[in-house]
Amino acid sequence: MNDLDILRAMRADAPNPAEDRLAAGRERLRAAARPLGSGHRQPGQAWRGYRRPAYGRPAMMLASALAVGALAAAAVLVIRPAPPSPSAIRLVSAAQVLDRAASVALAKPALTVRPHQWVYEKGIKSAGAHSFTTVSWYRFDGKETASFEHGNLVFYPGNRHDVALLATPEAAAGFLASLPTDPSALLAIIYNKADAQPRDQWVSKNRDARAFSFLITVTWNAPVGVPPEHEAAAFRALAKIPGVTIRTGLTDAAGRPAIGLTFKAGNGLNGTFFLDPHTYTISGLGYQDAGLARTAIAVVDKPGQK
Protein backbone atom coordinates (compact mmCIF):
# COMPACT_ATOMS: atom_id res chain seq x y z
CA MET A 1 0.00 0.00 0.00
CA ASN A 2 1.74 3.18 -1.09
CA ASP A 3 1.27 6.76 0.04
CA LEU A 4 -1.40 7.46 -2.59
CA ASP A 5 -3.38 4.42 -1.51
CA ILE A 6 -3.26 5.57 2.09
CA LEU A 7 -4.39 8.99 0.98
CA ARG A 8 -7.20 7.45 -1.08
CA ALA A 9 -8.41 5.70 2.04
CA MET A 10 -8.63 8.93 4.01
CA ARG A 11 -12.26 9.98 4.37
CA ALA A 12 -13.12 7.35 1.80
CA ASP A 13 -16.35 6.78 3.69
CA ALA A 14 -17.61 10.21 2.64
CA PRO A 15 -21.12 9.57 1.38
CA ASN A 16 -22.57 10.23 -2.02
CA PRO A 17 -25.19 12.91 -1.56
CA ALA A 18 -28.80 11.92 -1.12
CA GLU A 19 -31.01 13.22 -3.89
CA ASP A 20 -32.53 15.90 -1.66
CA ARG A 21 -29.08 17.38 -1.12
CA LEU A 22 -28.72 18.00 -4.84
CA ALA A 23 -32.22 19.29 -5.46
CA ALA A 24 -31.52 22.79 -4.17
CA GLY A 25 -28.46 23.24 -6.36
CA ARG A 26 -30.35 22.06 -9.43
CA GLU A 27 -33.14 24.48 -8.65
CA ARG A 28 -30.65 27.35 -8.33
CA LEU A 29 -29.23 26.43 -11.68
CA ARG A 30 -32.68 26.29 -13.24
CA ALA A 31 -33.51 29.65 -11.71
CA ALA A 32 -30.38 31.09 -13.25
CA ALA A 33 -31.18 29.57 -16.62
CA ARG A 34 -34.88 30.33 -16.76
CA PRO A 35 -35.17 34.08 -17.30
CA LEU A 36 -32.79 34.35 -20.18
CA GLY A 37 -32.88 33.72 -23.82
CA SER A 38 -29.64 35.59 -24.23
CA GLY A 39 -27.50 33.49 -21.95
CA HIS A 40 -26.69 36.37 -19.62
CA ARG A 41 -27.87 37.23 -16.21
CA GLN A 42 -27.02 39.34 -13.23
CA PRO A 43 -24.15 37.68 -11.40
CA GLY A 44 -25.36 36.42 -8.09
CA GLN A 45 -28.97 36.87 -9.05
CA ALA A 46 -29.99 33.36 -8.24
CA TRP A 47 -28.24 33.51 -4.92
CA ARG A 48 -30.33 36.21 -3.45
CA GLY A 49 -32.86 34.91 -1.05
CA TYR A 50 -31.40 31.47 -1.25
CA ARG A 51 -31.36 29.56 1.98
CA ARG A 52 -30.06 26.15 2.49
CA PRO A 53 -33.19 24.06 2.81
CA ALA A 54 -33.96 22.29 5.99
CA TYR A 55 -33.55 18.62 5.41
CA GLY A 56 -33.46 15.62 7.59
CA ARG A 57 -30.41 13.49 7.73
CA PRO A 58 -31.74 10.19 6.56
CA ALA A 59 -29.89 7.30 7.99
CA MET A 60 -28.06 9.43 10.51
CA MET A 61 -28.67 6.76 13.03
CA LEU A 62 -27.22 4.17 10.72
CA ALA A 63 -24.30 6.32 9.82
CA SER A 64 -23.78 6.73 13.50
CA ALA A 65 -24.02 3.02 14.00
CA LEU A 66 -21.46 2.53 11.29
CA ALA A 67 -19.13 4.79 13.16
CA VAL A 68 -19.90 3.39 16.55
CA GLY A 69 -19.55 -0.11 15.29
CA ALA A 70 -15.82 0.10 15.03
CA LEU A 71 -15.77 1.25 18.62
CA ALA A 72 -18.24 -1.03 20.11
CA ALA A 73 -17.10 -4.34 18.73
CA ALA A 74 -18.82 -7.71 18.65
CA ALA A 75 -18.43 -11.03 20.24
CA VAL A 76 -17.10 -13.90 18.21
CA LEU A 77 -14.08 -15.30 19.99
CA VAL A 78 -13.98 -16.28 23.62
CA ILE A 79 -17.51 -15.26 24.37
CA ARG A 80 -19.45 -16.95 21.64
CA PRO A 81 -20.28 -20.61 21.85
CA ALA A 82 -19.16 -22.87 19.06
CA PRO A 83 -21.29 -22.10 16.03
CA PRO A 84 -24.09 -24.54 15.46
CA SER A 85 -24.00 -26.39 12.19
CA PRO A 86 -25.72 -24.55 9.38
CA SER A 87 -29.42 -24.94 9.42
CA ALA A 88 -30.81 -27.38 6.92
CA ILE A 89 -33.99 -25.32 6.86
CA ARG A 90 -33.95 -22.42 4.49
CA LEU A 91 -35.09 -19.41 6.44
CA VAL A 92 -37.18 -17.20 4.29
CA SER A 93 -38.71 -14.50 6.44
CA ALA A 94 -37.25 -11.90 8.75
CA ALA A 95 -39.36 -13.37 11.55
CA GLN A 96 -37.84 -16.80 11.06
CA VAL A 97 -34.30 -15.48 10.88
CA LEU A 98 -34.74 -13.33 13.95
CA ASP A 99 -36.43 -16.10 15.87
CA ARG A 100 -33.44 -18.26 15.12
CA ALA A 101 -31.13 -15.44 16.24
CA ALA A 102 -33.08 -15.22 19.49
CA SER A 103 -32.76 -18.95 20.10
CA VAL A 104 -29.02 -18.83 19.50
CA ALA A 105 -28.70 -15.85 21.85
CA LEU A 106 -30.61 -17.69 24.58
CA ALA A 107 -28.23 -20.63 24.35
CA LYS A 108 -25.22 -18.50 25.08
CA PRO A 109 -23.72 -18.30 28.54
CA ALA A 110 -24.30 -15.06 30.41
CA LEU A 111 -21.17 -12.97 30.62
CA THR A 112 -20.66 -10.24 33.15
CA VAL A 113 -18.31 -7.52 32.02
CA ARG A 114 -16.93 -5.05 34.55
CA PRO A 115 -16.82 -1.36 33.62
CA HIS A 116 -13.04 -1.11 33.63
CA GLN A 117 -12.54 -4.19 31.47
CA TRP A 118 -11.63 -3.73 27.85
CA VAL A 119 -13.21 -4.93 24.67
CA TYR A 120 -10.69 -6.01 22.05
CA GLU A 121 -12.04 -5.67 18.55
CA LYS A 122 -10.66 -6.46 15.18
CA GLY A 123 -12.68 -5.37 12.20
CA ILE A 124 -12.55 -4.70 8.53
CA LYS A 125 -13.82 -1.37 7.36
CA SER A 126 -14.47 -0.85 3.68
CA ALA A 127 -15.27 2.26 1.77
CA GLY A 128 -15.60 2.19 -1.96
CA ALA A 129 -12.75 0.09 -3.30
CA HIS A 130 -10.67 0.40 -0.15
CA SER A 131 -10.65 -1.52 3.04
CA PHE A 132 -8.62 -1.56 6.22
CA THR A 133 -8.17 -3.75 9.16
CA THR A 134 -8.85 -1.95 12.40
CA VAL A 135 -7.55 -3.20 15.72
CA SER A 136 -8.72 -1.40 18.81
CA TRP A 137 -9.46 -1.69 22.47
CA TYR A 138 -12.35 0.05 24.19
CA ARG A 139 -13.09 0.25 27.83
CA PHE A 140 -16.47 -1.29 28.50
CA ASP A 141 -17.63 1.95 30.11
CA GLY A 142 -16.40 3.94 27.12
CA LYS A 143 -14.08 6.15 29.13
CA GLU A 144 -11.01 5.32 27.08
CA THR A 145 -10.05 3.77 23.80
CA ALA A 146 -6.63 2.51 22.77
CA SER A 147 -4.85 1.44 19.64
CA PHE A 148 -1.32 0.88 18.42
CA GLU A 149 0.50 3.68 16.69
CA HIS A 150 4.14 3.27 15.73
CA GLY A 151 4.20 0.17 17.86
CA ASN A 152 3.08 2.03 20.96
CA LEU A 153 -0.28 1.70 22.59
CA VAL A 154 -1.89 5.11 22.45
CA PHE A 155 -4.90 6.07 24.54
CA TYR A 156 -7.71 8.40 23.69
CA PRO A 157 -10.40 9.67 26.01
CA GLY A 158 -13.93 8.54 25.29
CA ASN A 159 -16.54 10.90 23.95
CA ARG A 160 -18.57 12.30 26.80
CA HIS A 161 -21.78 12.08 24.80
CA ASP A 162 -21.44 8.40 24.08
CA VAL A 163 -23.15 7.20 27.23
CA ALA A 164 -26.24 9.29 26.58
CA LEU A 165 -26.26 8.10 22.97
CA LEU A 166 -26.05 4.48 24.10
CA ALA A 167 -22.85 4.30 22.10
CA THR A 168 -20.64 2.65 24.69
CA PRO A 169 -20.90 -1.11 25.18
CA GLU A 170 -21.85 -0.63 28.81
CA ALA A 171 -24.54 1.97 28.12
CA ALA A 172 -26.05 -0.03 25.25
CA ALA A 173 -25.93 -3.34 27.13
CA GLY A 174 -27.31 -1.69 30.25
CA PHE A 175 -30.15 -0.19 28.28
CA LEU A 176 -31.09 -3.53 26.73
CA ALA A 177 -30.87 -5.22 30.10
CA SER A 178 -33.24 -2.62 31.54
CA LEU A 179 -35.98 -3.48 29.02
CA PRO A 180 -38.73 -6.02 29.57
CA THR A 181 -38.12 -9.44 28.01
CA ASP A 182 -41.62 -9.51 26.56
CA PRO A 183 -41.05 -8.47 22.93
CA SER A 184 -44.22 -6.38 22.66
CA ALA A 185 -43.55 -4.51 25.89
CA LEU A 186 -39.95 -4.01 24.82
CA LEU A 187 -41.03 -2.68 21.46
CA ALA A 188 -43.45 -0.19 23.03
CA ILE A 189 -40.52 1.39 24.86
CA ILE A 190 -38.43 1.44 21.69
CA TYR A 191 -41.19 3.24 19.81
CA ASN A 192 -41.37 5.82 22.58
CA LYS A 193 -37.61 6.29 22.43
CA ALA A 194 -37.66 6.59 18.67
CA ASP A 195 -40.47 9.14 18.86
CA ALA A 196 -38.63 11.14 21.48
CA GLN A 197 -35.64 11.70 19.22
CA PRO A 198 -35.31 15.25 17.92
CA ARG A 199 -36.98 15.47 14.56
CA ASP A 200 -33.81 16.55 12.82
CA GLN A 201 -32.24 13.27 13.82
CA TRP A 202 -35.00 11.12 12.48
CA VAL A 203 -33.83 8.56 9.99
CA SER A 204 -37.27 8.46 8.48
CA LYS A 205 -40.78 9.80 8.86
CA ASN A 206 -41.81 6.20 9.20
CA ARG A 207 -42.12 5.21 12.87
CA ASP A 208 -41.33 1.59 12.13
CA ALA A 209 -38.15 2.57 10.34
CA ARG A 210 -37.08 4.68 13.30
CA ALA A 211 -37.85 1.94 15.78
CA PHE A 212 -35.92 -0.58 13.72
CA SER A 213 -32.96 1.72 13.37
CA PHE A 214 -32.94 2.54 17.08
CA LEU A 215 -33.17 -1.01 18.31
CA ILE A 216 -30.72 -2.56 15.92
CA THR A 217 -28.22 0.19 16.51
CA VAL A 218 -28.33 -0.31 20.24
CA THR A 219 -28.01 -4.05 19.75
CA TRP A 220 -25.01 -3.53 17.52
CA ASN A 221 -23.48 -1.20 20.07
CA ALA A 222 -23.80 -3.85 22.78
CA PRO A 223 -21.75 -6.77 21.49
CA VAL A 224 -20.95 -8.03 24.95
CA GLY A 225 -22.56 -7.88 28.36
CA VAL A 226 -26.21 -8.25 27.38
CA PRO A 227 -28.00 -10.92 29.42
CA PRO A 228 -29.00 -13.68 26.96
CA GLU A 229 -32.73 -13.40 27.60
CA HIS A 230 -32.56 -9.67 26.86
CA GLU A 231 -30.57 -10.16 23.68
CA ALA A 232 -33.13 -12.75 22.59
CA ALA A 233 -35.95 -10.34 23.39
CA ALA A 234 -34.34 -7.67 21.25
CA PHE A 235 -34.24 -10.02 18.26
CA ARG A 236 -37.86 -11.08 18.83
CA ALA A 237 -38.89 -7.44 19.08
CA LEU A 238 -37.10 -6.63 15.83
CA ALA A 239 -39.11 -9.39 14.20
CA LYS A 240 -42.34 -7.66 15.25
CA ILE A 241 -41.55 -4.40 13.49
CA PRO A 242 -43.51 -4.15 10.24
CA GLY A 243 -41.28 -3.63 7.24
CA VAL A 244 -38.20 -5.39 8.55
CA THR A 245 -36.94 -7.62 5.77
CA ILE A 246 -34.07 -9.93 5.02
CA ARG A 247 -31.86 -10.28 2.00
CA THR A 248 -29.94 -13.47 1.48
CA GLY A 249 -26.75 -14.20 -0.38
CA LEU A 250 -24.92 -11.08 0.69
CA THR A 251 -21.32 -10.68 1.78
CA ASP A 252 -20.09 -8.37 4.48
CA ALA A 253 -17.09 -6.05 4.35
CA ALA A 254 -14.84 -8.98 5.20
CA GLY A 255 -16.20 -10.96 2.28
CA ARG A 256 -18.04 -13.42 4.52
CA PRO A 257 -21.47 -14.71 3.60
CA ALA A 258 -24.17 -12.82 5.44
CA ILE A 259 -27.90 -12.44 5.80
CA GLY A 260 -28.89 -8.82 5.33
CA LEU A 261 -31.37 -7.33 7.74
CA THR A 262 -32.84 -4.08 6.60
CA PHE A 263 -35.93 -1.98 6.45
CA LYS A 264 -38.09 -2.18 3.36
CA ALA A 265 -36.97 0.13 0.62
CA GLY A 266 -38.42 3.53 0.11
CA ASN A 267 -38.15 5.00 3.56
CA GLY A 268 -34.83 6.72 3.28
CA LEU A 269 -33.15 3.98 5.22
CA ASN A 270 -30.57 2.30 3.11
CA GLY A 271 -28.37 0.66 5.69
CA THR A 272 -28.16 -3.08 6.01
CA PHE A 273 -27.12 -5.02 9.07
CA PHE A 274 -25.50 -8.36 8.49
CA LEU A 275 -26.19 -11.50 10.44
CA ASP A 276 -23.71 -14.32 10.41
CA PRO A 277 -25.64 -17.22 8.81
CA HIS A 278 -24.17 -19.68 11.30
CA THR A 279 -23.98 -17.85 14.62
CA TYR A 280 -26.83 -15.40 13.99
CA THR A 281 -24.87 -12.65 15.64
CA ILE A 282 -24.72 -9.24 14.02
CA SER A 283 -21.47 -9.52 12.12
CA GLY A 284 -21.35 -6.25 10.31
CA LEU A 285 -23.21 -3.50 8.60
CA GLY A 286 -23.19 -1.75 5.31
CA TYR A 287 -24.28 1.67 4.27
CA GLN A 288 -24.17 2.76 0.65
CA ASP A 289 -20.68 1.79 -0.47
CA ALA A 290 -19.19 1.66 3.01
CA GLY A 291 -19.21 -1.32 5.29
CA LEU A 292 -17.89 -2.62 8.50
CA ALA A 293 -17.36 -6.22 9.54
CA ARG A 294 -16.44 -7.47 12.97
CA THR A 295 -13.94 -10.27 12.66
CA ALA A 296 -12.78 -10.79 16.23
CA ILE A 297 -13.68 -9.73 19.71
CA ALA A 298 -12.77 -10.53 23.27
CA VAL A 299 -13.17 -9.09 26.71
CA VAL A 300 -9.74 -8.55 28.24
CA ASP A 301 -8.40 -6.98 31.38
CA LYS A 302 -5.85 -4.73 29.76
CA PRO A 303 -5.60 -2.97 26.41
CA GLY A 304 -3.12 -4.68 24.12
CA GLN A 305 -4.32 -8.14 25.15
CA LYS A 306 -6.13 -10.32 22.68
Binding site: P17, A46, G255
Partner: protein, 215 residues
Amino acid sequence: VTNVVRLARHPHEGNGADVTAPTRERVDDAALIEQSWHEPEVFAGLYDRHASHIHRYVTRRLGDGFADDVVGETFLAAFQRRQRYDLARPDARPWLYGIAANVIGKHRRAELRMLQAFARTGADPVAQSYADRADARVSAAGVQRQLAAALAGLPAGDRHVLLLIAWADLSYDEVAVALDIPAGTVRSRLHRARKKVREALGGQDPTMISEEPPR
Protein backbone atom coordinates in the same frame (compact mmCIF):
# COMPACT_ATOMS: atom_id res chain seq x y z
CA VAL B 1 -32.16 13.10 -18.46
CA THR B 2 -34.80 14.47 -20.71
CA ASN B 3 -32.69 17.44 -21.70
CA VAL B 4 -30.08 15.15 -23.10
CA VAL B 5 -32.48 12.98 -24.98
CA ARG B 6 -33.90 15.97 -26.79
CA LEU B 7 -30.56 16.73 -28.36
CA ALA B 8 -30.76 15.08 -31.75
CA ARG B 9 -28.84 17.08 -34.26
CA HIS B 10 -25.79 15.30 -35.57
CA PRO B 11 -23.12 16.97 -37.65
CA HIS B 12 -23.93 14.70 -40.57
CA GLU B 13 -27.64 15.19 -40.53
CA GLY B 14 -27.73 18.18 -42.78
CA ASN B 15 -29.79 21.26 -42.36
CA GLY B 16 -31.75 20.71 -39.26
CA ALA B 17 -34.25 18.18 -40.44
CA ASP B 18 -35.92 16.35 -37.60
CA VAL B 19 -34.08 18.35 -34.96
CA THR B 20 -36.37 17.33 -32.16
CA ALA B 21 -36.44 13.64 -32.82
CA PRO B 22 -35.43 11.82 -29.68
CA THR B 23 -32.27 9.78 -29.68
CA ARG B 24 -31.00 7.32 -27.16
CA GLU B 25 -27.46 8.21 -27.95
CA ARG B 26 -25.54 9.52 -24.98
CA VAL B 27 -24.49 13.00 -25.74
CA ASP B 28 -21.12 14.11 -24.47
CA ASP B 29 -20.65 17.02 -22.14
CA ALA B 30 -19.32 19.32 -24.84
CA ALA B 31 -22.44 18.87 -26.96
CA LEU B 32 -24.60 19.49 -23.94
CA ILE B 33 -22.72 22.65 -23.09
CA GLU B 34 -22.89 23.88 -26.67
CA GLN B 35 -26.61 23.34 -26.73
CA SER B 36 -26.93 25.21 -23.45
CA TRP B 37 -25.54 28.30 -25.14
CA HIS B 38 -28.92 28.69 -26.76
CA GLU B 39 -31.04 26.63 -24.43
CA PRO B 40 -29.73 27.46 -20.98
CA GLU B 41 -31.96 24.99 -19.17
CA VAL B 42 -30.13 22.14 -20.90
CA PHE B 43 -27.21 22.87 -18.58
CA ALA B 44 -29.16 21.06 -15.86
CA GLY B 45 -28.19 17.87 -17.66
CA LEU B 46 -24.57 18.57 -16.80
CA TYR B 47 -25.59 19.00 -13.19
CA ASP B 48 -27.42 15.68 -13.15
CA ARG B 49 -24.39 13.99 -14.61
CA HIS B 50 -21.69 15.42 -12.40
CA ALA B 51 -23.05 17.12 -9.27
CA SER B 52 -23.05 13.93 -7.23
CA HIS B 53 -19.37 13.07 -7.51
CA ILE B 54 -18.31 16.67 -7.09
CA HIS B 55 -20.48 16.88 -4.00
CA ARG B 56 -18.70 13.89 -2.54
CA TYR B 57 -15.30 15.37 -3.36
CA VAL B 58 -16.23 18.63 -1.65
CA THR B 59 -17.60 16.72 1.34
CA ARG B 60 -14.28 14.95 1.61
CA ARG B 61 -12.32 18.17 1.58
CA LEU B 62 -14.51 20.53 3.58
CA GLY B 63 -17.15 18.42 5.27
CA ASP B 64 -20.85 17.96 4.92
CA GLY B 65 -21.76 21.50 5.92
CA PHE B 66 -19.99 23.14 2.98
CA ALA B 67 -20.85 20.70 0.25
CA ASP B 68 -24.29 21.91 -0.86
CA ASP B 69 -23.21 25.50 -1.19
CA VAL B 70 -19.88 24.79 -2.84
CA VAL B 71 -21.51 22.51 -5.41
CA GLY B 72 -24.23 25.08 -6.08
CA GLU B 73 -21.67 27.84 -6.52
CA THR B 74 -19.50 25.65 -8.73
CA PHE B 75 -22.28 24.92 -11.16
CA LEU B 76 -23.54 28.47 -11.24
CA ALA B 77 -20.03 29.67 -12.05
CA ALA B 78 -19.75 26.96 -14.69
CA PHE B 79 -23.08 28.00 -16.15
CA GLN B 80 -21.95 31.60 -16.39
CA ARG B 81 -18.75 30.54 -18.13
CA ARG B 82 -20.30 27.96 -20.41
CA GLN B 83 -19.64 29.96 -23.55
CA ARG B 84 -15.93 29.83 -22.83
CA TYR B 85 -15.90 26.06 -22.56
CA ASP B 86 -13.46 24.35 -24.91
CA LEU B 87 -15.78 22.22 -27.03
CA ALA B 88 -12.87 20.04 -28.11
CA ARG B 89 -13.05 18.42 -24.67
CA PRO B 90 -15.91 15.92 -24.54
CA ASP B 91 -15.63 15.32 -20.80
CA ALA B 92 -16.41 18.34 -18.63
CA ARG B 93 -15.24 16.82 -15.38
CA PRO B 94 -11.79 18.45 -15.36
CA TRP B 95 -13.35 21.82 -16.10
CA LEU B 96 -15.92 21.39 -13.33
CA TYR B 97 -13.35 20.18 -10.81
CA GLY B 98 -11.18 23.16 -11.67
CA ILE B 99 -14.04 25.52 -10.90
CA ALA B 100 -14.79 23.55 -7.75
CA ALA B 101 -11.14 23.90 -6.74
CA ASN B 102 -11.49 27.67 -6.98
CA VAL B 103 -14.60 27.66 -4.82
CA ILE B 104 -13.00 25.28 -2.33
CA GLY B 105 -10.04 27.66 -2.27
CA LYS B 106 -12.28 30.34 -0.79
CA HIS B 107 -12.58 28.11 2.25
CA ARG B 108 -8.88 27.39 2.51
CA ARG B 109 -8.58 28.56 6.07
CA ALA B 110 -11.49 26.43 7.20
CA GLU B 111 -9.94 23.45 5.46
CA LEU B 112 -6.59 24.04 7.15
CA ARG B 113 -8.19 24.49 10.55
CA MET B 114 -9.95 21.17 10.20
CA LEU B 115 -6.84 19.34 9.01
CA GLN B 116 -4.82 20.79 11.85
CA ALA B 117 -7.46 19.86 14.38
CA PHE B 118 -7.45 16.33 13.02
CA ALA B 119 -3.67 16.14 13.24
CA ARG B 120 -3.67 17.52 16.77
CA THR B 121 -6.55 15.66 18.36
CA GLY B 122 -7.12 12.60 16.22
CA ALA B 123 -10.73 13.65 15.74
CA ASP B 124 -11.48 14.57 12.13
CA PRO B 125 -14.02 17.38 11.93
CA VAL B 126 -14.70 16.53 8.30
CA ALA B 127 -15.45 12.86 9.00
CA GLN B 128 -17.50 13.90 12.00
CA SER B 129 -19.60 16.17 9.81
CA TYR B 130 -20.91 13.28 7.76
CA ALA B 131 -20.46 10.23 9.92
CA ASP B 132 -21.21 11.49 13.40
CA ARG B 133 -18.59 11.94 16.07
CA ALA B 134 -17.34 8.45 16.72
CA ASP B 135 -15.81 7.79 13.33
CA ALA B 136 -12.92 10.07 14.09
CA ARG B 137 -11.57 7.71 16.67
CA VAL B 138 -11.34 4.95 14.13
CA SER B 139 -9.17 7.19 12.04
CA ALA B 140 -7.09 8.07 15.03
CA ALA B 141 -6.02 4.50 15.25
CA GLY B 142 -4.30 4.68 11.91
CA VAL B 143 -1.92 6.84 10.02
CA GLN B 144 -4.33 9.53 9.05
CA ARG B 145 -3.30 12.04 11.67
CA GLN B 146 0.15 12.28 10.14
CA LEU B 147 -1.50 12.48 6.75
CA ALA B 148 -3.70 15.35 7.87
CA ALA B 149 -0.67 17.21 9.18
CA ALA B 150 1.12 16.68 5.88
CA LEU B 151 -1.87 17.90 3.86
CA ALA B 152 -2.16 20.98 6.03
CA GLY B 153 1.50 21.74 5.39
CA LEU B 154 1.25 21.67 1.59
CA PRO B 155 0.97 24.78 -0.54
CA ALA B 156 -2.63 25.15 -1.73
CA GLY B 157 -1.74 24.43 -5.35
CA ASP B 158 0.08 21.23 -4.44
CA ARG B 159 -2.85 20.11 -2.30
CA HIS B 160 -5.23 20.64 -5.21
CA VAL B 161 -3.07 18.51 -7.49
CA LEU B 162 -2.63 15.74 -4.96
CA LEU B 163 -6.29 15.51 -3.99
CA LEU B 164 -7.65 15.82 -7.52
CA ILE B 165 -5.57 12.78 -8.36
CA ALA B 166 -6.17 10.80 -5.19
CA TRP B 167 -9.78 11.70 -4.44
CA ALA B 168 -11.29 12.86 -7.72
CA ASP B 169 -9.48 10.22 -9.80
CA LEU B 170 -8.39 12.71 -12.42
CA SER B 171 -5.43 11.88 -14.63
CA TYR B 172 -2.36 14.13 -14.80
CA ASP B 173 -3.60 15.65 -18.04
CA GLU B 174 -7.06 16.23 -16.59
CA VAL B 175 -5.56 17.96 -13.56
CA ALA B 176 -3.58 20.16 -15.92
CA VAL B 177 -6.82 21.15 -17.65
CA ALA B 178 -8.64 21.59 -14.36
CA LEU B 179 -6.07 23.91 -12.84
CA ASP B 180 -4.99 25.44 -16.13
CA ILE B 181 -1.34 24.61 -15.57
CA PRO B 182 1.14 22.72 -17.76
CA ALA B 183 1.31 18.96 -17.37
CA GLY B 184 4.92 19.29 -16.27
CA THR B 185 3.82 21.48 -13.39
CA VAL B 186 1.27 18.85 -12.37
CA ARG B 187 4.07 16.27 -12.21
CA SER B 188 6.44 18.44 -10.22
CA ARG B 189 3.72 19.47 -7.76
CA LEU B 190 2.61 15.89 -7.34
CA HIS B 191 6.17 14.71 -6.82
CA ARG B 192 6.73 17.35 -4.17
CA ALA B 193 3.45 16.66 -2.40
CA ARG B 194 3.92 12.90 -2.36
CA LYS B 195 7.41 13.30 -0.98
CA LYS B 196 6.02 15.28 1.94
CA VAL B 197 3.28 12.76 2.52
CA ARG B 198 5.77 9.87 2.51
CA GLU B 199 7.98 11.70 4.97
CA ALA B 200 5.02 12.26 7.25
CA LEU B 201 4.07 8.61 7.02
CA GLY B 202 7.61 7.42 7.42
CA GLY B 203 7.21 5.94 10.85
CA GLN B 204 3.82 4.37 10.43
CA ASP B 205 3.20 0.88 11.65
CA PRO B 206 2.52 -1.13 8.50
CA THR B 207 0.43 -3.65 10.40
CA MET B 208 -2.27 -1.05 10.93
CA ILE B 209 -3.19 -1.04 7.28
CA SER B 210 -3.71 -4.06 5.16
CA GLU B 211 -4.53 -4.61 1.56
CA GLU B 212 -8.07 -5.28 0.58
CA PRO B 213 -8.82 -8.96 0.79
CA PRO B 214 -9.83 -10.59 -2.48
CA ARG B 215 -13.56 -10.71 -3.03
